[in-house]
Symmetry: C2
Subunit: 305 residues, 2 copies
Amino acid sequence: MEKIIVFGHKNPDTDSICSSIVMADLQTKVRGQEVIACRLGEINEETQYALNYFKAETPKLIEKVEEGQIVIMVDHNEFSQTVDGIENAKIDTVIDHHRINNFKTAEPLFYYAQPVGCTATLLYELYKLNNVKIEPKIAGLMLSAIISDTLLLKSPTTTEKDKKALAELEKLANVNKETYGLEMLKAGTNLDKYTEKELINLDAKMMESQGAKYMVAQVNTVSIPDVLKRKAQIEEEIKNTINEKELSLFVFAITDIVNSNSEAIVLGDRTDLISKTYEINDNIAVMPGVVSRKKQILPLIEKNM
Amino acid sequence: MEKIIVFGHKNPDTDSICSSIVMADLQTKVRGQEVIACRLGEINEETQYALNYFKAETPKLIEKVEEGQIVIMVDHNEFSQTVDGIENAKIDTVIDHHRINNFKTAEPLFYYAQPVGCTATLLYELYKLNNVKIEPKIAGLMLSAIISDTLLLKSPTTTEKDKKALAELEKLANVNKETYGLEMLKAGTNLDKYTEKELINLDAKMMESQGAKYMVAQVNTVSIPDVLKRKAQIEEEIKNTINEKELSLFVFAITDIVNSNSEAIVLGDRTDLISKTYEINDNIAVMPGVVSRKKQILPLIEKNM
């Protein structure tokens, strides 16, 4: 019997990586059998900072799953964002905080989702529900995930539950959330080392709606103009991706984590899905106050569909 | 602002009706605003017995929902089984114990599902989680739902959680689960009053998979031969339904609740989905030990697809 594995989405962010490690810890303790944390892509610099700080092991990289493999999905549910072979796996559990789309199972499962800012907030609840003690390392990883997903509680996705969980995890992890959090977020804004191709794939999500495939990528920065210096090359790579994956739309959101604004490079046949709401000039849409892909950009696209 | 409404699936069974009333009670108390229990079809005799016994009001019959209506779904998730207009409603919460299929939302939601025998078992957990007192009437409705869905804990869908919930609800509702349960189940086996058309729609679920639409209906009885006396007329109605709804398959399962066996009338172009596993003679498949549509019949069809 293959061991149960747990993983977050492709192009993993800090929540996907940390929640996989945390969920593997929780499930190993609850089930009394080893559950393995996995990942579907490279670790970004922000996440690496968190793993180093809390001395956590990097989850195992996997590309596909075998038929019948028992899997736990965290931080996602859409098949377009998950591991290859999912159609023939047995999905045992999903813990998520996104809409449900492009998802189905042959059998009943454990599915727990809430419209909160971060998957780790729900995992924190599950530790309490199951009366499992949270070790400092595990607390640190949950705290890192919440800080990352809510941009230190500034994103409109933030809920009271995220705030409460973060406050309690701060004590358990024995760090100052502001100091640690800003350092961690800044570690993720070092974008110079990435090629343009890497940049648009760092945190990119593929969606499908009404037959249209589109991608929304997001990077965090402390200086949007700094990123836009590479606009021409980034556009080149986006166009390649659109052709390769037959996309109707690609949105590359550059988010200023200090001032909580975004500017997005918008390309494809369906730029109208953005331009119905934000004017696009020279392929750039300026989006004041926008920091959340899930709560702000994706609903906008769906509404304009 | 429209009030929030809660409803179970079309062709409602005891779990769908009772869980709607129970969830409306819980949500009204938790949210501090009235949540309305609704239903998508006629009350069957088994359910009526439970409602009478515990002096519960019949939920309001609705056929469709308006755009933007906030809804809570219990005991189902598939759009093919739910209210008309769901695509433009706002799905706030789902509490369910079925596989996820044919379901999507534009935004994150509260989704709580577990592979347990009955939705009411999960609602029982939610009362405890939210520290809400369970009144005897509410306990009686949850108990009725669990007895109905698990056939008094005999169905293979039954889990430890259902057993535990039922044992505790028995005390709160102040009834004997065996005596009350058998009376309630028997009330649902009085099939003589139904026309054949009503019979095949009493507890029928429409499914879609790989482009094939199919229906699986189920009735409980204390005598399978008694029901099969009307085989010719039942087949006639099934054929009409197949034509009308363009179905690939219709399975009408007749379940002996005393001996825990079923025989099914199987018609349509895709009878192979059943006959790969059970021999079909004169349109009848004998299924020893089969009592659960969800756990036994539906997975079989999906596997043979």
